[in-house]
C-alpha cells in the first residue's frame, strides 16, 4: 500500500498546479453568454452583503428592460439578437467592481457594464479609459464621476447637486434658520452633508452639529435623534436607504419634533410610506415618487414590477432609471449599428435618446446627454410633502455642466 515513488512528487505537483488549474477553470467558467446572436449587458453591483437590497433593485430594473426589449425584438445592423444580463457580485467594493467589469468586458464580451456605486465607477474608469474598452453605465448621482473627463461613461441619475439648492430654497421660505445634520455616514451621505451645509451657510443660516451616523451599523437611532433635537433645529437633513430613514423620521416625531425634513435622494417617499405612518413624513422635501409620473410607460413598469419582481415594494427611481438606461444603450447599439464598439455606442447616445420606444419612458426620460456623458431631463422635479400630507412638485433648475 505504500505510495510509489512516482506518486509523491505528483502529489506535490498537484498543489503547485492549483494556481494553474484554477486559471483554466475560471477562464472557462465565465464565458457563458458570448454566442454570436446575443448581446450581453454587464452588471456589477452589491448582490450580497449590507447593500444587497440596493444592488438587487437596480438589477431588477435592468432585467425588466431587457425582458421587454427581447419581447419587442432587437435588430442591429440587420441581424436579430437576444439581449442578456450578466450580473456579478461586488459587495460594494471598488476593487471587486473593477475586476468584475473587466471580466464582463473580456469574457462575456459586454460592451456596456452597469455599476451602481461611485467607488466602483471610479475604479472601473481607471480601466475603461486605457486597455479594456467598455461603456460604463454609471448609476450614481455624484457629479464627480463625469468631471474627470472619462469618455466612456454614461451617468444615469440627476446630479445630487441639482437638488440641494431647490430643497434649501423651499425649506427656508418661512424663515427657518437652524439646520440639523443626521445623514448617513457613507461616501454619498458625506458629500450630501457638505453640499447642503454649504448651501445653508450661503444664505446665512446656522448649521448645527454634524450627527451623521452609519445607518447600517447603529443599533438604536434614539440617541443620535435626541442629540440632534437637543439643538432645536428647524430643518433636519437626513437620508440613507429608505427604510432606516423612515425609522429615524418616526423616532424624531415620537420625540416631539415638528419641523421639516430635507431628505437626500437615496431615500424614496414611496418606500418610506410603507415603513412608517405616512403622516410622519409630512413637511418634507425629497425626490419625486415614480408612481406620480405620467409618462407613457410608467403604469406598465409598475405592473410588471409587481408581477415579476415583488409586490412588497414599490417601484423606485432606482428601478425606473436603470430600466430606461438599459433601453437607451440597446437603442444606441441599433443606431450605431454595432454591438461591440463602446466608442461608437457612446457616440450614438444623443441620437438614440429620441428613438427609444415610448414604453421605456417611465420617470422623467432623459432629453439630452451632456458632452461629459450625463443623461439629463430638462423637466426635473422635486417633491414636497405638505404639512397636510399632499405632494407638491417643484421644478428644478439644473446647473450647467
Amino acid at each position: 500500500m505504500a505510495p510509489t515513488r512516482a506518486i509523491r512528487p505528483a502529489t506535490t505537483v498537484a498543489a503547485a498546479l492549483c494556481t494553474g488549474a484554477l486559471l483554466a477553470t475560471s477562464a472557462c467558467g465565465g464565458g457563458s453568454g458570448s454566442d454570436s446572436d446575443t448581446i450581453v449587458i454587464g452588471y456589477s453591483g452589491p448582490l450580497s452583503g449590507g447593500a444587497a437590497a440596493y444592488g438587487k433593485n437596480i438589477q431588477s430594473g435592468l432585467q425588466l428592460a431587457i425582458g421587454d426589449l427581447n419581447d419587442a425584438g432587437v435588430t442591429v445592423d440587420g441581424q436579430e439578437y437576444r439581449v442578456q444580463l450578466q450580473s456579478l457580485d461586488d459587495q460594494y467594493a471598488p476593487d471587486a467592481a473593477a475586476t468584475n467589469a473587466q471580466r464582463l468586458a473580456e469574457q462575456d464580451d459586454a460592451a456596456v457594464v452597469f455599476i451602481p456605486h461611485a467607488g466602483g465607477i471610479q475604479a472601473a474608469q481607471e480601466l475603461n479609459s486605457s486597455r479594456t474598452e467598455f461603456l460604463l453605465g454609471a448609476y450614481s448621482s455624484d457629479p464627480k464621476i463625469v468631471e474627470q473627463g472619462n469618455e466612456l461613461t454614461m451617468m444615469i441619475p440627476p446630479s445630487f447637486e441639482s437638488y440641494a439648492k431647490p430643497f434649501v430654497d423651499k425649506l427656508t421660505e418661512d424663515g427657518q434658520t437652524r439646520l440639523g445634520l443626521l445623514g448617513t455616514a457613507s461616501e454619498y451621505g458625506q458629500e450630501w452633508t457638505k453640499l447642503v451645509s454649504d448651501e445653508w451657510n450661503s444664505r446665512g443660516g446656522q448649521v448645527l452639529t454634524d450627527n451623521s451616523i452609519d445607518y447600517a451599523t447603529v443599533s438604536d437611532f434614539a440617541g443620535p435623534v435626541s442629540r440632534t433635537l437637543a439643538e432645536n433645529p428647524d430643518v433636519i437633513f437626513l437620508g440613507g436607504p429608505s427604510q432606516p430613514t423612515a425609522v429615524i423620521i418616526e423616532e424624531a416625531r415620537r420625540q416631539g419634533y415638528e419641523g421639516s425634513f430635507l431628505i437626500m435622494d437615496q431615500a424614496k417617499f414611496e418606500e418610506m410610506e410603507k415603513f412608517t405612518d405616512p403622516e410622519n413624513l409630512n413637511d418634507s422635501i425629497g425626490v419625486k415618487p415614480v408612481r406620480d409620473y405620467d409618462d407613457p410607460g410608467t403604469d406598465d413598469l409598475i405592473d410588471s414590477y409587481a408581477e415579476e419582481v415583488t409586490k412588497e415594494r414599490p417601484v423606485t427611481s432606482e428601478v425606473a432609471l436603470n430600466y430606461q438606461a438599459a433601453a437607451i444603450v440597446v437603442t444606441a447599439m441599433q443606431v450605431a449599428g454595432t454591438i461591440d464598439d463602446p466608442t461608437a455606442i457612446r457616440e450614438a447616445l444623443p441620437d438614440a435618446l429620441g428613438q427609444v420606444d415610448d414604453r421605456f419612458h417611465v420617470s422623467g426620460f432623459p432629453t439630452e446627454i451632456t458632452d461629459a456623458g450625463h443623461l439629463r431631463n430638462a423637466d426635473l422635479e422635486a417633491a414636497y410633502r405638505t404639512p397636510e400630507g399632499e405632494y407638491e412638485y417643484l421644478s428644478i433648475d439644473q446647473p450647467d455642466e
Binding site: A185, D214, D220, G223, R227
Partner: protein, 288 residues
C-alpha cells in the same frame, strides 16, 4: 440636562442589548475557549426567526421570542456539533475562520429566505413615558428590565442548578470535571444552545426599534468582542459591567464629542484597557 437624562436611558437600553449578546459569547469563551465570530450571525438569525413567528405565523410577541430562542438554541447545538466539536483540539485561528465561514453561510441563508431588503418588526409595546423631561419609550424600558431578569435567572442557573454548575465546573477545570463524570461534550452543547438563545432574546427585543437585515449582526459582533475583552474573557460579571460601560461610553462620546468618535470609542477603550492591563479588567486565572 434633559439631553443627558435622555442619553443615559438610551445608553442603558443599548447596554441591556449588549449584555444579553455578550454573555452568550463570554460563556462560549469560558467553556470552550472559542472566540465565536459567528455570534452576530446567530443574533441576526434570531431576529429573523422571531419575525417569522410574529409576523408570518402570527403568535404573540413574547411567545415569538420564546419560540425563536428554542429554534436558535437547537441551531446553536447543531453548530457546535458540526463546526466546533470537530475543531475542539485546533488552535483559535481555526475557530475564527470556521466561524467566519459559518457567518457567510448564515447571512446567505437569511438573504435567500427573507430577501436582502430591510424588514420592520412591530412590537405590541408602544408609547413612551416622560422621566425628568426625557422621552423614554416603553420598548427601551422593557429591554433594560428583560436584561436584568434574564441576567438574574442566568446567574441562578449557573450557580445553583445542576446543569448550570457543570458549566462553571468545566470553565474552572476541564480535566477535573471529566474525572467527576461531567461530560465536556454535553456542556459544550448546553453552552452553545444557551448562548444562541440569549442572543435571540437580545435580537427580539431590539428588532422593533431598528430594522432587520442579513448584515444587522456585523457591527454588533465586533462590539461584543470589545465588551468581553474589557470585562475579561469568560467572566459573567465582567460581561455585564462591560456591556453597560461600553454602551454608556458610546452614547456619551457621540453626544459630547462626535458621532465618529462614538463609533470608535469601543475600540479605543479596548486598546487603552489592554495597554494598561493586558488581561482585561476582571482578569481571572486563565486555565491552560
Amino acid at each position: 440636562m434633559t439631553l443627558f437624562i435622555q442619553q443615559l436611558f438610551d445608553g442603558l437600553a443599548l447596554g441591556g442589548v449588549y449584555c444579553l449578546a455578550a454573555i452568550g459569547l463570554t460563556l462560549i469563551f469560558g467553556v470552550l475557549r472559542i472566540p465565536n465570530l459567528a455570534h452576530g450571525a446567530l443574533y441576526m438569525l434570531g431576529a429573523y426567526v422571531t419575525y417569522f413567528f410574529l409576523v408570518t405565523v402570527g403568535v404573540p410577541y413574547v411567545a415569538a421570542i420564546g419560540l425563536a430562542a428554542v429554534v436558535l438554541a437547537l441551531l446553536g447545538v447543531l453548530m457546535e456539533r458540526l463546526v466546533f466539536h470537530p475543531l475542539r483540539n485546533a488552535p483559535h485561528t481555526h475557530h475564527m475562520i470556521a466561524a467566519v465561514g459559518a457567518m457567510f453561510f448564515f447571512q446567505a441563508v437569511a438573504q435567500a429566505l427573507w430577501g436582502a431588503d430591510f424588514r420592520r418588526m412591530e412590537s405590541p409595546i408602544s408609547g413612551s413615558v416622560t422621566i425628568l423631561g426625557a422621552q423614554i419609550s416603553w420598548q427601551r424600558i422593557v429591554i433594560v428590565g428583560t436584561a436584568v431578569v434574564v441576567l438574574g435567572l442566568l446567574t441562578w442557573f449557573v450557580k445553583r442548578s445542576i446543569h448550570g454548575q457543570t458549566i462553571e465546573a468545566i470553565e474552572q477545570d476541564r480535566t477535573g470535571s471529566s474525572l467527576v463524570g461531567i461530560s465536556p461534550s454535553r456542556v459544550s452543547m448546553l453552552t452553545f444552545g444557551l448562548a444562541a438563545a440569549l442572543a435571540t432574546v437580545a435580537a427580539g427585543l431590539v428588532a422593533p426599534i431598528n430594522l432587520l437585515s442579513p448584515t444587522m449582526g456585523d457591527a454588533l459582533s465586533l462590539k461584543v468582542f470589545a465588551i468581553i475583552i474589557l470585562g475579561g474573557l469568560g467572566s459573567l460579571p465582567g460581561a455585564v459591567v462591560g456591556g453597560f460601560a461600553l454602551a454608556l461610553a458610546e452614547v456619551m462620546t457621540s453626544t459630547y464629542v462626535s458621532a465618529a468618535a462614538g463609533e470608535g470609542i469601543a475600540f479605543v477603550v479596548i486598546v487603552l484597557v489592554l495597554a494598561i492591563r493586558p488581561t482585561g479588567l476582571f482578569a481571572r486565572a486563565v486555565q491552560r
